[in-house]
């Protein structure tokens, strides 16, 4: 007790500095938002944390969120890297997903629109799909890194044309792949109780984290994003690094496309991953990353992605009426964005400052 008293002043100042460093930490904000969503669910959604095993699969609201966020998580990883390196956003993820899945579907189904048998080996088809994604990414990357075009503008080309290309690949049809093996990637591998999507997204997150941490890629990406000129002078090939992030983005979007089409057992190029790029940008921003490039936090982005999915799932679970759903989503997003804006933060800072200075003057 006496100890406490003696350290009162110290503990207060350490608390303040702790709070300050917490407030300046990029991760804090996204964690807080996620926590709010979770708490909200504890109140409004009975059985939110209930986990059961149904049909040999772990299921419940939370596994649902993890499952349904997986495509977004994978795309967000790519978006994080592209944003960090180029200081811009690539909006062609949805289109790339469609292209990659279409390649894969074409390989598996041949020209049939609905079949039980694979026309080529499963793994080969997946690889071709990823390659398709990589090609799309390389196209964007080339325009951005070599020709110095702004990423948003560049990716507008694939954003508008990508789905038409995908449609040409599938001859304008929705392809239904009835072989149960096709659903391994997007639903379940027989005997494994965890949804494959959750496994795939987790593995991808780990892979990208290791890739950026164990090699110097992460450092290089940040350098290039912060200051292109400085980076070039210290011997970094900034165009190569940017190009690389776009290719990675393509591959990741391709993977998301394969996962997404596998989870519904069909390739519908008009529908797959529609609008996912916008959610991914939002996730990156929510994660405390600067959309102007530079330092990035994969953990933040991932939390951002899960937060977005958690919000959607929550709204479904609350049975919000369909015509109000988007209004609610937009409102929540506006609140989050305003709360994370610099102007708002400085306002808060000034406010707390006022309170503190009042305290001081009263005390003194």
């Amino acid at each position: 007790m006496s100890d406490l008293k003696g350290n009162n002043k110290l503990s207060k100042s350490t608390f303040i500095s702790f709070a300050k460093s917490l407030a300046s930490n990029r991760l804090t904000f996204s964690v807080v938002v996620l926590l709010i969503v979770v708490v909200q669910n504890i109140i409004t959604t009975p059985g939110f944390f209930k986990i059961t095993i149904a049909n040999g699969l772990i299921s419940g609201y939370i596994p649902n969120i993890l499952d349904e966020a997986s495509e977004l998580v994978i795309v967000t990883l790519g978006m994080t890297l592209v944003t960090a390196a180029s200081g811009g956003q690539d909006i062609s993820a949805g289109a790339i997903m469609a292209v990659a899945a279409s390649f894969c579907g074409l390989m598996l189904n041949g020209s049939e629109y609905r079949t039980d048998v694979f026309h080529s080996p499963y793994l080969l088809a997946l690889l071709v799909g990823l390659l398709g994604g990589a090609l799309c990414g390389a196209f964007n990357g080339f325009l951005v890194s070599k020709l110095r075009m702004p990423p948003m503008l560049t990716s507008l080309i694939l954003f508008t044309a990508g789905r038409s290309i995908a449609k040409q690949i599938t001859h304008g049809q929705t392809i239904y792949i009835m072989n149960p093996v096709y659903k391994w990637l997007g639903v379940q591998i027989p005997g494994v109780p965890i949804r494959t999507t959750i496994i795939v997204s987790t593995v991808t997150v780990i892979f990208i984290t290791l890739l950026t941490r164990l090699t110097s890629l992460g450092l290089y990406i940040q350098s290039v994003g912060i200051n292109d000129a400085s980076s070039r002078l210290v011997g970094l090939k900034s165009s190569v690094i940017k190009f690389l992030t776009f290719v990675l983005y393509g591959v990741l979007a391709g993977l998301a496309g394969l996962v997404g089409s596998s989870s519904v057992g069909s390739v519908n190029s008009g529908e797959l991953g529609l609008g996912i790029e916008m959610d991914a940008i939002l996730a990156v921003a929510l994660g405390g990353n600067n959309l102007g490039g530079g330092k990035f936090s994969i953990a933040g982005s991932i939390i951002g992605a899960y937060t977005i999915q958690a919000i959607t799932t929550t709204l479904y679970a609350m049975n919000v009426r369909a015509d109000q759903l988007n209004v609610f989503k937009a409102l929540i997003i506006i609140v989050i964005i305003v709360a994370s804006s610099d102007v708002f933060k400085t306002k808060i800072k000034h406010f707390t400052q006022k309170i503190f200075s009042k305290n001081v003057s009263v005390g003194g």
């Binding site: 110097s216 200051n227 002078l233 970094l236």
Partner: protein, 525 residues
Amino acid sequence: MEKLKQEQNNSDCMGKQPGHNDEAGPSLKMIGIGKSFPGVRALNNVDFSLRCGEIHALMGENGAGKSTLIKVLTGVHPMDEGRVYLEGNPVLVRSPQDAQRYGISTVYQELNLCPNLTVAENLFLGREPLKRCLIDWKRMNDEAECLLKELNILAEPTAQLDSYSIAIQQMIAIARAVNTECKYLILDEPTSSLDADEVQRLFDLMRRLKKNKVGIIFITHFIEQVYEICDRITVLRNGELVGEYEIENLPRFELVKKMMGKEIEVLSDLSVHKDESSSESEVPVLEACNLSSGASKVAPFNLKIYKGEVVGFSGLLGSGRSELVRTIYGADKAVEGQQFIKGESVTIKRTLDAMKHGMAYLPEDRKAEGILSELSVRENIIIALQAKRGIFKRLSRKEMEKYADEYIKLLDIKTASKETPIKSLSGGNQQKVILARWLLTNPEFMILDEPTRGIDVGTKTEIQKLILKLAEEGKSVAFISSELDEMLRTCSRIVVMRDRQKVGELTDSDLNQETIMRTIAGGEQ
């Protein structure tokens, strides 16, 4: 009512003229200022005062807290403790815009202009002349033209800012600050990238403002400039106030002692060991034959640099001295000519090639080309070495920390920790970090473009010593500095540039102020 108030305000400063004259007492007063950043106490109980119509020097080593004091005053950072009074009234300055409203105009150490806007847009940013709610472009450009002419700045109002050198950008930043109706003008190291002529022009301007009763705070590391123009000096050391002095009462060596807290070695002790004058038979470390660059338009030049040699590059701003060394390093693409390293022909397509051949290049523009602002001191130090090693041979965290610690100690870099982002270091300490970055790559041939810019007197000597030590160890150095005596003290040969051409090489007995100036100016006497 409004108007009356304003007049009253004005008269506070001007009105007392007849009776009290300049000795009217301080017009700007800061008392008991304290400011902490995570891990550092940047300012501790500092008092400062500025009178109407005086030029007041703020002096101190790198990281002493000069810029922080300015930033606290102008509302960039909130202060932890202390009070600010303007004309006797306590004020709370919350933001630079606020400061502007109180009549405080500031040129910060790190220029914050917009490189991709035009000169005129930069001059009038935030207070563009309007015509029916739209920007009156014509008037804006005309006024900009007048302003530029008045200050003798050679810049087109409609040209993009980043098409000009930092010297001109610096002058534009100053023009922007004096253009607003100001009662107080703050200049944080405005002269670090100006040449002698431009400094004189700036001083003329400052004297004119002084006559108009503007109070000026002037921060610099050039002691001579302080004695040329200032009335009083305030000295800071490690965030503490050392004292406030009338200029007459503080001789130079006393000032330096007050800043450093110890006696400084006499600079003239340093001298080049010019005994082993490199023989012609020896193979040069670096040789350029007819090298010329495309974009920066440096005329073809020949150059040989030998082992253990410090070669200076001199010339006016814009003479092409920086561009020449950039071409050697591959930062500007060479369009013709050949390069040899230790006798072997090499092609340098990009900077990494140059680094692999043992070169290092410390660029002139620290903010635009040097620092990686958001990265930590540690990352900024190891980045060049890491780039040289390649993406897969990542330095372990331990190695990085070891190197960072080593160089922080070696160069006495003042930083809260090695994980502090470099942008929160003081200007001079940022420069030291960049120097550390290149020393770490253990280069054979180092190009240093203005390495002592923004560095305090004490450290300047340290860096000059370091350059000589490198040469002694058999490394070669190309050295550019706007301060001639600094080059004379270290270089064994000086290359003179004029109009993007190499016009001469001076050695031995020609190495003196007069000959160099003559060669720079035109040679024909």
